[in-house]
Amino acid sequence: MSVPEATRLQTVTALESTALWGIRVLLAAAIARALRAGVDRLTVRRLFLELIGQEGDDDA
């Protein structure tokens, strides 16, 4: 792998990592609010799976 390609991959990985962290913060806030409002963890997970189109996926 050339040096520029390695650098590019490192940059892409870093950007993805930063974006993923931002999503993690959003999810954590949504979960915290749901739990405070009395929604249980299983329901939160079910809602999430419905939203990403994986209804009925219950392998975890």
């Binding site: 993805e16 974006a19 993923l20 931002g22 999503i23 993690r24 913060v25 959003l26 999810l27 954590a28 806030a29 949504a30 979960i31 915290a32 609010r33 749901a34 739990l35 405070r36 409002a37 009395g38 929604v39 963890r41 329901t43 939160v44 997970r45 809602l47 999430f48 799976l49 939203l51 990403i52 994986q54 975890a60």
Partner: protein, 134 residues
């Protein structure tokens, strides 16, 4: 009537009416405001919070539409009797909206939804989400 423990923040960027809705809904869900409890009038709450009558009317209207409060003409505003069911629906709706916002952003960024799902499972398992202020 006692004042409601509501504090508005201009710095939050959240509209005042929305902050009022969220905080009254939290008071109801937590049991601090019980079914049948009377709320301050629009005028009283506006004076307490130093906001316009329109802002409080909008908040009360949203809470009424959510089934959390009822407006009884000539009598006042009360926490709904069937508040538990309404509160549950509102909580699910809020949870769905919060998750949808995160998923929407992940999709716009082109992130792998499998990784997002793994993150969600980590948060749910670790209890990390319990400590984050929403």
């Amino acid at each position: 009537m006692d004042q409601l423990p509501i504090a508005l923040s201009q710095a939050s960027g959240v509209p005042f009416y929305r902050q009022i809705v969220d905080q009254i809904a939290d008071l109801i869900r937590s049991g601090q405001l019980e079914a049948g409890a009377q709320l301050p009038s629009v005028r009283e709450l506006a004076a307490q919070l130093l906001v316009s009558l329109i802002t409080v009317r909008r908040a009360y209207s949203d809470l009424e539409n959510a089934g959390l409060i009822v407006l009884r003409q000539g009598y006042g505003t009360y926490v709904a009797d069937d508040v538990v069911a309404a509160s549950r629906e509102q909580a699910l709706s809020d949870a769905r909206a919060g998750l949808a916002a995160a998923i929407g952003r992940a999709r716009r960024l082109g992130l792998d939804l499998g990784a997002i799902r793994t993150t969600l499972d980590e948060l749910l398992t670790s209890g990390e989400g319990n400590d984050v202020s929403a």
